[in-house]
Assembly symmetry: C2
């Protein structure tokens, strides 16, 4: 008899998020689920780890085939807790991170706690998929994301892909019928143009609050994830983490 | 008369760190310094941003050619505060992040707040250099790092490199005499094998504390930053942030 798959689910919006429940629904289609998510929202936490504080783990829910823990650290801490403690003696077949409330396309992959966790999962040699819906609403409609999430996870699990695998999957805000398909893309070149909202607090102290707008440097490029999303496609970007700029390396070797 | 250069200095150990003062010493050799660093230690904060809290800026010190601010956010928040508010009307010629207490070689580049800030600087089109000493000691000896830091910054400023530039520079624990030179490297392939120290707190609650060991998957590879450091070279890795795995992209296009 084939052994049941074991799937780790995590996110960065915290264990109470609607998108987290949607990710668990995707995962349980394919196997037994252990979910470890941050106690509180950890959006924008990137690949951060908690070095200088103790962390607390709490079992929040258990039913047949699904157990849910909260952990008081970052999304990456959650992945480490699962692989190095909770599931240290088991083989994890897949990591699903999300479903995030908000896009992680383009340069957002770098700031995203969802993708930080997915990248961390891939460090453990486990295929890892970050799922994000381009809708920040706490009550966003995850129906199409659920449908296409299952489709993508299924194809990855049956695709016999070998070696380290990490996918950044983003869903447009659209119904199942409106979505035109799935596109494998590259990361869009762009950046955040920030503006600090600033004002005085009730005690007269000036405070700053980050706000900004994403600038797409190549809106016409049809092979990018931003283009795919703008045109109602699901965007998949395969992710790797060797940040070496090999082109510049040669140039710098002349200088040093 | 040539306009004086403007250099932004930041770090992740906080504005009181010894390494931060060393980075300011490096920077002031080359121009006017504006320094914005986290109020408290932000090690391991990666590219994290603060989305859900107001942030506070405080001027901590001012003398001819150097002004130092603390900011209550992450290292990336500090860079955004500098470019988008404090220095919004000026041209910043260089960002220096560090000098970090501890290595940011290999995969540490992903977890590092120091490198998160350097990468963020490069998003603003400004050459950005992260400097790290492979010594966690609060009272580490920064003499050789200062010497070689000045050498590297000088060559970059005079090198007429165009386009986006981000360097991950790591110094070995060695005296100036012991250091064998500077090597341009690629990022070492490796990962952190973690172990959670766990115990009971005074109230009987079980807590977890992250601890681990770096596993180098290619200790013999002489073109890597870990090899350079182990052999008493200063290691420079040029960094880029397109995480697209182009090799896997083709393979996935068959699957979707």
């Amino acid at each position: 008899m084939k052994k049941e798959r074991l799937i780790l689910v995590t996110n960065d919006d915290g264990y109470t998020a609607k998108g987290f429940r949607a990710a668990i629904e995707v995962a349980r289609t394919f196997g037994r689920v252990v979910a470890v998510a941050p106690e509180r929202t950890q959006s924008g936490m990137s690949q951060a780890i908690t070095m200088y504080n103790p962390l607390f783990l709490r079992k929040q829910h258990e039913e047949v085939g699904v157990v849910i823990y909260s952990f008081s650290g970052t999304p990456v801490d959650c992945v480490k807790m699962a692989f190095d403690y909770l599931l240290a003696d088991e083989q994890v077949d897949l990591v699903i991170s999300g479903i995030n409330h908000g896009s992680n396309a383009a340069v957002n992959v770098l700031y995203s706690g969802t993708m930080g966790a997915a990248i961390e999962g891939s460090f453990y040699g486990c295929p890892s998929i970050g799922l994000s819906l381009t809708d920040h609403d706490l009550d966003a409609d995850f129906n199409a994301a659920l449908h296409y999430g299952r489709e993508i996870v299924g194809r990855v699990l049956e695709g016999n892909l070998t070696g380290s695998l990490c996918l950044n999957v983003n869903f447009p805000v659209a119904t199942i019928d409106q979505i035109r398909g799935i596109r494998v893309c590259r990361q869009t070149d762009g950046y955040w143009k920030e503006e600090f909202y600033h004002h005085e607090d009730p005690r007269g102290r000036e405070y700053f609050w980050l706000t900004g707008e994403f600038i797409n440097r190549e809106p016409e490029a049809e092979d990018t994830d931003e283009w795919a999303l703008a045109n109602n496609y699901v965007a998949i970007v395969p992710v790797q983490v060797d940040l070496t700029d090999y082109r510049r390396k040669k140039e710098l070797e002349q200088l040093f």
